[in-house]
Amino acid sequence: MRRQAPLALLGCALLLVGCGGSDGRSSTLTVFTAASLTDVFAQLGEELEEQRPGLDVRFTVAGSSTLAAQLVQGAPADVFASADERQMAVVTDEGLADDPTVFAANVLTIAVPEGNPAGVTGLADLAREELAVALCAPEVPCGAAAERLLVTAGVEARPDTFEADARAALTKVELGEVDAALVYVTDAAGRPDAVDAVEIPQADAAVNEYSVAVLTDAPDPDAARAFVELLLSADGRRLLADAGFRQP
């Protein structure tokens, strides 16, 4: 409710804009992207716009599951980048895209308020009763990853809240309302002034793989392929690495 209605409106607006090109040379590339990729993709979009005058790259940003649901409902888009393989499978199973490429991986870290006031040193601290702890809800990818990680580490966490996505969990850390939250490494790296990250030695037990695909009904398949090529190029890899992503 909170996200889908505005996004649906945005989708409609993009469709109208896409049809409104009058001189025949300007075109719009619509990229549906998982929220954690926002910053990297914005830079790639600018790069592609420089390479191809007249091209306008637009992003629809949301959780991967929301985006997948919108694509299945017929939202018009050229490229889909998903934060986990399950949501990419939702789209490919419907025949809306084929041949997705895994291009990056992300692991979890413990985000704590700046200065780490509660003295969190590892996963075991998430079981401390007196700490306020946020995890992602098991329904969303980062929550599923957190579940796997905690089971592997044998930690019985005592969360106070299950957040709807990693960014919401991070916000609670930034506001100082929780002492620790399990979020993606890249989420914490994106806010170096507001949160500190406590590295998790067992993090490899839960790796999320990011995949990208050109949609079968892409209005501009040519530009869509160019965007994916740029993402997979040395430039793209460097940007992803700078943001804290791993190579798959």
Binding site: M1, A132, T161, T171, L175, G176
Partner: protein
């Protein structure tokens, strides 16, 4: 007499009103019909007995009722101040207290953190003095719902007060009643239907509250996971479950509102 007849047969509605009204009904009712069509009727039993559904429903009903009670205790006096008093800056005050109507509820949730959170102005004092923290508790759910829903009650009661004839109050005053007695014995009974209608609106808004709740109170089964929050999370994994949960919320709120209307509100709020 003729008006009654018109009501019964449906005649007498001019076409320029009938057509848009019919469109409005279709616009509001068709999405509900869509929910009913898509509902996983065969698996409904399993969806509704899934762990957490009962506690989410109970929490929703309890917290929305508590939020309505708080709104009545605080909101009716506020409506009176806005409608009857002559304090300066009333127009500004009215605009301020209706801000939650237009504020995106998620922002409302963050604003509540800034005041009542562990680091908040009031919240940090509560924490240090009494060792009490509000976020992620059922109290936080009620506070978030009250913040979003009370303006509906205030606006509705203020409207009723403005429409009520103030001369009855003047008469009560000339007969020796002080203002408090006048409010209790004359004003309140006169605007009771408006108060009831406002309370129903407020309750319904609190029941559906999502953004401020998930932000300020978080999401924990049994403590802070209300039905709308459960629906949103179910939507991420299993849309059928979300539809089933929505149907429950819909049925319960429709039943409650119909029952209230027949029992207590009479025709005034119909």
């Amino acid at each position: 007499m003729s008006r009654r007849d018109g009501e019964r047969t449906g005649a007498g509605v001019p076409l320029p009103l009938m057509v848009p009204a019919a469109l409005a009904v279709a616009f509001l009712v068709l999405p509900l019909a869509g929910l009913l069509v898509r509902a996983p009727w065969s698996g409904l039993g399993a969806q509704l007995t899934a762990p957490g559904v009962g506690s989410a429903l109970r929490l929703s009903l309890v917290s929305a009722t508590a939020a309505t009670a708080v709104s009545l205790v605080l909101g009716v006096p506020l409506a009176w101040v806005l409608a009857r008093s002559r304090i300066r800056g009333r127009a500004v005050l009215r605009a301020l207290v209706t801000v939650p109507l237009v504020l995106p509820p998620v922002v409302g949730g963050v604003a509540l953190f800034l005041v009542l959170g562990r680091q908040g102005v009031v919240g940090s004092w509560l924490d240090e003095t009494f060792g009490v923290t509000i976020p992620f508790t059922t109290t936080a759910v009620v506070i978030a719902q009250t913040f979003v829903a009370m303006p509906f009650l205030v606006v509705s009661v203020e409207g009723a007060l403005r429409a009520a004839d103030a001369r009855f109050e003047d008469v009560a005053a000339t007969l020796g009643a002080d203002r408090w007695t006048t409010f209790r014995r004359v004003t309140l009974p006169m605007v009771a239907p408006g108060v009831a209608a406002g309370a129903v609106l407020c309750w319904a808004r609190a029941l559906g509250e999502f953004g401020a709740t998930i932000t300020f109170a978080g999401n924990f089964p049994g403590t802070t996971q209300t039905m709308p929050v459960a629906v949103y999370l179910a939507l991420q994994r299993e849309p059928e479950a979300a539809v089933a949960l929505s149907l429950v919320l819909l049925a319960v709120s429709l039943a409650t509102l119909l029952l209230l209307r027949d029992r207590w509100l009479g025709r005034a709020a119909a």
